[in-house]
């Protein structure tokens, strides 16, 4: 009987079972984090009148919220590295709730900035990252599907939150709505409760013996203490500087990871043109003479196609043809998105815009579904915790800059087509960049893999291999750890299905 397949996390991932409950909880958390700022815009007009402020002043609220949600990534990562996903998400849910409840009693716009923008934004940040992280801890073989399903929570939540907000506003005014929204956001705590911690000690009992010998000190669930890794840890900690300690909480050594850098640069570029078309789709439709309700219908078409596209992309990405080359699929999705925007100015009538919305929804869903999956694929589940924090804070700037740059283009030229051209060009560029760089990355990984295989055949190097595993958290190894378990899994798949995974 061959030993069970290990991922770099040091235990066997369930790939199902309680994992689906985790996916459901993650979809709720992710849904709130992405859609709450958008759904909040319903209150703008009333708040403008209540506080006698201009539109740009009230729009700062959602900008601060978005900025804190993405900028709070590293804080999330540090807390998850220290305490695990569940406490962080539950605390995040509490923070969101407290933020909105206190916003209900605000008397000035500054208090609103703090309560709605900062506190709620921070709470959403503490929801978003851990939800994405815990999927990587429960799924390996079916991870793209799990990611696709979890990200599908965003359009579903948008479709429910937008009419709900309108209903609350019509019946309770803005103060009552904020109070009730605070309670609704507390449901993130429910999602957090579903995030059962999983780690080497909490995995199934059978492979425990095998695991004990191979457990490394970079076990991600530091909250579940293990006897063996603690011993390893104390050995390793002597003689390590504070850099290593910081790296344990937030892995800055990722900046030397080739795949991570490629992903970072490509994504930062992509987000410059990612959100602006959605923001300006309805105004563009109204500009071409379409009435308000039909313009809103365009966004509904987008959301519905998006809702279907995300799990579908997950399933496609999980297939055996796409999974090993998922980075190419991601670059294709980004380039496809860009191509849609470049062709949008050609849409002259309402039907054309409907077609554009459907393709845009499809492309948007494809990119979002694979957004975190590709990062997990590149850096591995162990370092993903820190990676996601660092990536979101870097993306924060371009996400916030995208719509205002688009708006400036529209105001300068008086025509929406330049904004679409800019977004399309930026995304096609990002897609091409990612495609080329990932091709290079895959080749380098294949070379390193070959080198490692030849080393393994050499018996002298067994000790170095163990040291290599012990130094997994260091920056020396550049390989994508996911490729090896995948290939081994295909050999050992029968062992998996024998149900050694109990949850």
């Amino acid at each position: 009987m061959s030993p069970p397949v290990l991922s770099d996390l040091g235990y066997v991932l369930p790939d199902g079972g309680w994992g689906w409950a985790v996916v459901f909880g993650a979809s709720i958390s992710i849904g709130f984090a992405f859609t709450f700022p958008k759904a909040f815009t319903i209150y703008f007009k009333e708040l403008q009148a209540a506080f006698s402020i201009s539109y740009s002043q009230i729009a700062w609220t959602t900008s601060i919220m978005c900025a804190t949600t993405y900028g709070g990534g590293p804080i999330s990562s540090i807390l998850v590295n220290r305490y695990g996903s569940r406490p962080v998400v539950m605390f995040g849910g509490l923070l969101c709730g407290v933020g909105m409840i206190s916003a209900a009693f605000c008397t000035s716009i500054l208090q609103l900035y703090i309560c709605v923008g900062f506190i709620t934004g921070l709470g959403l940040a503490l929801n978003l990252q851990p939800s994405v992280i815990i999927i990587g801890k429960y799924f390996l073989k079916r991870r793209p599907i799990a990611n696709g399903l979890a990200m599908a929570g965003s359009p579903v939540m948008l479709c429910t939150l937008a009419p709900l907000n309108q209903f609350l506003f019509d019946n309770f005014g803005w103060r009552g709505s904020f109070l009730i929204l605070g309670a609704i956001l507390l449901n993130c705590c429910v999602a957090g409760a579903l995030f059962r911690p999983i780690g080497a000690a909490t995995a199934s009992a059978k492979p425990q013996d095998a695991l004990k010998g191979k457990i490394t000190e970079d076990a991600t669930e530091m909250s579940s203490p293990k006897n063996v890794p603690v011993e390893n840890k104390t050995e390793e900690e002597e003689g390590k500087g504070c850099c290593e300690k910081i790296n344990r909480y937030l892995d800055f050594s990722l900046f030397k990871h080739r795949g991570f850098l490629i992903y970072l640069i490509g994504n930062v570029l992509m987000f410059l043109g990612f959100f602006a078309p959605i923001v300006f789709l309805a105004p563009y439709a109204k500009h071409t003479g379409i009435d308000e309700y039909s313009a809103a219908f365009l966004l509904s078409v987008l959301a519905i196609v998006d809702m279907v596209a995300r799990p579908a992309t997950g399933i496609i990405a999980n297939s055996k043809w796409v999974r090993p080359r998922i980075q190419y699929f991601f670059s294709f999705a980004i380039a496809f998105n860009g191509a849609c925007h470049l062709l949008c100015p050609l849409a002259s009538n309402y039907m054309g815009l409907i077609v554009y919305s459907s393709f845009f929804g499809l492309a948007f869903g494809m990119v979002c579904a694979m957004l975190f999956e590709t990062l997990m694929d590149l850096v591995g589940a162990a370092r993903f915790t820190s990676a996601v924090g660092l990536v979101t804070i870097a993306e924060c700037c371009t996400i916030l800059l995208g719509p205002p740059i688009g708006g400036t283009l529209i105001d300068t030229f008086g025509d929406y087509k330049y904004m679409f051209i800019k977004c399309g060009a930026v995304m096609v560029l990002a897609g091409t960049f990612l495609f080329i760089m990932n091709y290079y990355n895959y080749r380098m990984l294949a070379k390193e893999e070959k080198k490692r295989k030849t080393k393994e055949e050499d018996p002298k190097s067994v000790r170095t291999e163990n040291e290599g595993r012990n130094n997994w958290n260091r920056d020396t190894t550049q390989d994508g750890p996911e490729l090896e378990p995948l290939r081994e899994e295909q050999e050992g798949v029968k062992m998996e299905t024998n149900g050694t995974n109990e949850v």
Binding site: F172, L194, T202, S223, N227
Partner: protein, 335 residues
């Protein structure tokens, strides 16, 4: 861009004033020309450009056939406007025109015969209600009447009726500008502040706020209750009423009235004052639901862990060792 636009408007206004003073028609000199109107309006003596999809207030379109859309023309005093409806017009269109006027103007309404149509030399009468008005001018294919409007008595609907093989009529509705006010009820809470805003397309001479007290409308006199009501004019066309320290008695219907030269126009709004208990009930219900769900999930987890401990023969022994580790991890997990 705005500077040249204003320049063009002023130029056209001067031209108009000159024309009007030569024709000796309208009492232009009697009414002050307000400068704010000049800046925001375009003046036209003849055809003006058709504006589609833009929100500026524009001169009348004389060439497009009209759908039942209120057009927002605002003229300064001493101006002269022409409106035309093409007959019989494209099929399926209502032969109506909504014209909103704020200040004294001279208006010429014409019904023009479509040269492509089959109607030939019909008999045309202009009517206002039941009373017939005589034509001011008549050409081969158009019939017009000129109205000098100085007060609200001349406002209303005017129709031209063509009697030929079939009878076709077109109607012009002259009315004061409509006021934009919130249609849905405004919901506020006790001890909160309510804000009500009314917006008009033209600048009225005065704004007045009323509230319904019992069954009688009562003017809201700001000077009497300075710490309760605050009325401010945010701009020439916008007025705002703020009601401080709300109580349940403040709920009801409020309306703002704009006084124009040619009449009054009002916008109604409904104010609802709720107590804090109203949203508190759903709030407590949702919080209770959250607490119940979280407790259920954690209890289920503890239960399934206890159950899973003794499944499998050798598993039970191993879980003895893990028990100490797990109990401390459980305490870690509890916040």
């Amino acid at each position: 861009m705005p500077a040249t636009f204003v320049g063009r408007c002023l130029g056209r206004l001067l031209l108009l004033l000159l024309c009007v003073s030569f024709s000796g028609g309208s009492p232009a000199g009697k009414y002050p020309v307000t400068t704010t109107q000049d800046a925001s309006q375009s003046q036209a003596n003849s055809l003006t450009k058709v504006q589609v999809g833009l929100n500026e207030s524009s001169g009348p379109d004389l060439t497009t056939q009209d759908f039942k859309q209120p057009s927002k023309e605002h003229q300064s005093n001493g101006s002269f406007l022409q409106f035309e409806i093409l007959l019989p017009g494209p099929p399926g269109t209502l032969l109506e025109r909504n014209i909103s006027l704020a200040n004294a103007t001279t208006v010429e309404l014409s019904c023009k015969l479509d040269p492509d149509s089959h109607l030939k030399s019909p008999q045309v009468t202009w009517k206002r209600g039941n009373e017939t008005i005589s034509h001011t001018s008549k050409t081969e294919d158009s019939w017009s009447i000129k109205l000098v409007i100085v007060d609200s008595s001349k406002m209303g609907s005017y129709s031209c009726i063509l009697k030929g093989e079939e009878e076709i009529s077109a109607t012009f509705y002259l009315h004061v500008p409509k006021i934009e006010a919130r249609e849905k009820p405004i919901i506020t809470y006790e001890r909160d502040t309510a804000v009500m805003v009314c917006k008009s397309d033209s600048t009225p001479m005065a704004w007045t706020w009323y509230m319904m007290s019992g069954s009688k409308p009562v003017i809201i006199n700001e000077s009497l209750w300075t710490d309760k009501y605050l009325i401010s004019r945010l701009s020439a066309n916008v007025t705002r009423l703020r009601i401080l320290k709300l109580t349940k008695e403040d709920a009801g219907v409020y309306w703002c009235e704009a006084v124009f030269e040619l009449g009054k126009s009002e916008g109604k709004m409904k104010l609802k004052v709720l107590s804090i208990m109203a949203p508190l009930k759903p709030f407590i219900a949702i919080v209770a639901e959250v607490i119940i769900l979280v407790t259920t999930i954690i209890l289920y987890e503890l239960y399934s862990k206890r159950k899973g401990k003794c499944t499998g023969e050798k598993a039970c022994d191993q879980t003895e060792q893990l028990k100490s580790g797990e109990s401390s991890s459980a305490s870690h997990r509890k916040i």
